[in-house]
């Protein structure tokens, strides 16, 4: 069984007047350890798909199964726990919490996990910061960091809980090309060294080509 399995996903946004079909009959399988890029024009439903895989949003129709669990049936609390244990997110605009320093931002997912003490949390935070070369910035606030450094902190936060899946929505979208390359290098390391399964949305053809597989979207449907 694939690590990520979407069957017959349909997502319809209904506002008072208009109905937008963001996704239509999407079937997708991602194997364990794969690094998949999702490409397609703006508004074709890439973020919507990623949010559904990440259990942040529910499909109108269809089933989502992750790591052998049928997640369509989980309640809100169970979904929260599932996200916490298995999924890491990296966003285009970093989404660090501005009032928390680097270490506290990275620690965030661990604070929602039971049975992990302060000492162990600190150890894990130190480990990932070391790995991402951000140890010397651990007391800095996000506003005191460059975009590339922010994204590294965000990646540290995404992996500190040792998830099996990392979902990245245009992780290099707000970065210049050299910082973008650095971030891509980090994601490839995570994929190769830790076997983390990565699904990444990107507009960058060159970055997409470095990944195992490209899924192309158009108008809510997979075209290849």
């Amino acid at each position: 069984m694939a690590l990520i399995e979407l069957n017959g996903i349909e997502k319809v946004y209904r506002t008072k007047e208009i109905e937008t079909t963001a996704l239509e009959n999407v079937n997708l399988k991602v194997e364990k350890g794969e690094f998949v890029s999702i490409m397609g024009p703006s508004g074709c439903g890439k973020s919507t798909l990623l949010n559904i895989i990440g259990l942040l949003d529910k499909p109108t129709l269809g089933t989502v199964s992750l790591i052998g669990t049928d997640c369509s049936k989980l309640g809100d609390t169970a979904m929260s726990h599932f996200r916490n244990a298995n999924i890491g997110f990296v966003f285009q605009s970093f989404h660090l919490i501005p009032s928390l320093n680097v270490a506290a931002n990275v620690e965030l997912p661990l604070t929602y996990r039971s049975g992990i003490g302060a000492a162990e949390r600190r150890k894990r935070v130190d480990e990932v910061l070391e790995r991402l070369g951000m140890t010397h910035r651990r007391r800095h606030l996000p506003s005191q960091l460059s975009g590339g450094q922010c994204q590294r902190v965000a990646i540290a936060r995404a992996i500190v809980g040792r998830p099996s899946i990392v979902l990245a929505d245009e992780p290099t979208g707000n970065l210049d090309s050299s910082m973008g390359d650095e971030v891509m290098q980090l994601l490839h390391d995570l994929n190769r060294q830790d076997g983390i399964t990565i699904v990444m949305v990107t507009h960058n053809e060159a970055q997409a080509r470095q990944t195992d597989r490209i899924v192309r979207f158009f108008d809510g449907r997979i075209i290849s």
């Binding site: 942040l56 726990h81 996200r83 244990a85």
Partner: protein, 406 residues
């Protein structure tokens, strides 16, 4: 507070103000019911104060304080009462002149010897008068420290004589000053009570009873009602009967105000009134705090989205917001409580109910566990009503929308 320190301070001050107002009301109430020396057993005290007698045939209706005889008839030897004192209701201002030759006005309280047992006076020197001396109507006096200083200057007061409204009295004991807030034990000069009265039924005597530990007040009231019935059968010969007004009264009833000898005090309505005041004092600031918290959270919608993405449950969002707001409420509450205590001690006008003297409670009357407990409870209630709705709304945010919010 994580992102909006300025609003945090406004919130703290708003809370402080609210707790301040509540605590001023609470402390006024506390001073009137909680025990402090010499009224050390207010929770066990019952007072028989008045008698109301009517003559249905000719429409006669008299009510006043009791004579010693009436008080004894109604209250003496009740089961469950540890000790009973007959003393005058309140104090009478008198002129006193001692060796300093200065005439000063003193508050005179006439009592029996049991008075010294049921109240906890601080005897600095000398002794109290005994039953024989009260029976003999001896001209002996126990006076309080500051009065002794005023009457005799630096001289040793015990054994000295002074004039009290043209009668000569000998000082046999000196007690520490009593706060007029202890309205039933208060006095500056204490002398043996005269047991005669101008009327067989009426006078100015009250029965102050110290009930045995653990005895229900209802048990005492029942016996008093029976005594009223007995008294009625005595009075029947003269075509008179008593009107019962719920006597004897406990400290809360006394504090609520016993309006007259011919009315039944209603501590329940006072309690209701206080509840309404507390509710208003809590609800109004809570609405304010709630909208402040709400606007504070609007700036944090993104954060909430991030927290939800990384596995924060709805319940955790709620408890985080409530505990964060609790820190603010407790900080504000502490400031408000300190302000209220300082205010109560400095602004004696609050307690003008207690005779002419403007009196302020002492710090020890105000600083007690109950005060903190009430303040804490008020903080919790304030916190819950102000934070519950914003916290619940925050927890219902859709994570995707929260993440994308601008």
């Amino acid at each position: 507070m994580r992102t909006q320190p300025v609003i945090g301070w406004v919130t703290i001050i708003g809370t402080a103000l609210s707790i301040f107002l509540i605590m001023v009301v609470v402390m006024m109430q506390q001073v009137s019911i909680l025990s402090f020396a010499p009224e050390t057993h207010r929770d066990r005290m019952l007072y028989g104060m008045f008698i109301h007698i009517v003559q249905p045939e000719n429409g006669g209706d008299s009510s006043s304080g009791m004579s010693y005889q009436t008080a004894k008839k109604l209250y003496d030897g009740l089961d469950g009462v540890e000790d009973i004192s007959y003393n005058n209701n309140g104090v009478i201002p008198c002129d006193a002149r001692g060796t300093t030759d200065r005439v000063i006005s003193v508050d005179l309280h006439s009592t029996d010897e049991a008075f010294w047992r049921i109240y906890d006076f601080d005897l600095i020197e000398g002794r109290f008068y005994d039953a024989a001396e009260v029976g003999a109507g001896s001209n002996l006096a126990v006076i309080c420290e500051s009065t002794a200083a005023a009457l005799f200057g630096g001289e040793h007061p015990v054994g000295q004589h002074f004039m009290l409204d043209h009668n000569d009295f000998e000082v046999i004991g000196i007690v520490g000053d009593v706060s007029p807030l202890a309205s039933k034990a208060y006095g500056q000069v204490f002398i043996p009570i005269s047991l005669e009265s101008w009327d067989p039924e009426f006078g100015n005597v009250i029965a102050s009873m110290l009930v045995k530990d653990g005895v229900d007040f209802g048990h005492i009231s029942e016996q008093v009602r029976a005594r009223y019935a007995e008294f009625d059968s005595e009075l029947a010969a003269d075509g008179k009967e008593t009107v019962y007004h719920g006597s004897p009264y406990d400290q809360e009833t006394i504090a609520g105000g016993v309006d007259g000898s011919n009315t039944t005090p209603d501590p329940e309505s006072g309690r209701r009134m206080r509840m309404i005041i507390y509710i208003i004092l809590l609800i109004v600031p809570a609405i304010n705090l709630s909208s402040m918290l709400h606007s504070r959270l609007r700036h944090r919608v993104n954060e909430i989205g991030v927290e939800r993405a990384f596995g924060c449950t709805r319940r955790r969002i709620i408890s985080d917001i409530i505990s964060e707001s609790l820190i603010v409420t407790v900080a504000g509450g502490l400031i408000g409580l300190v302000a209220a205590i300082v205010f109560a001690m400095c602004y004696s006008g609050l307690y003008s109910d207690f005779g002419d003297a403007a009196v302020s409670p002492s710090l020890s009357m105000l600083l007690r566990p109950q005060t903190f407990a009430y303040a804490l409870v008020a903080c919790f209630i304030l916190n819950i009503i102000s934070a519950a709705v914003p916290a619940w709304q925050a927890s219902r945010l859709n994570p995707v929308e929260a993440l994308n919010a601008r």
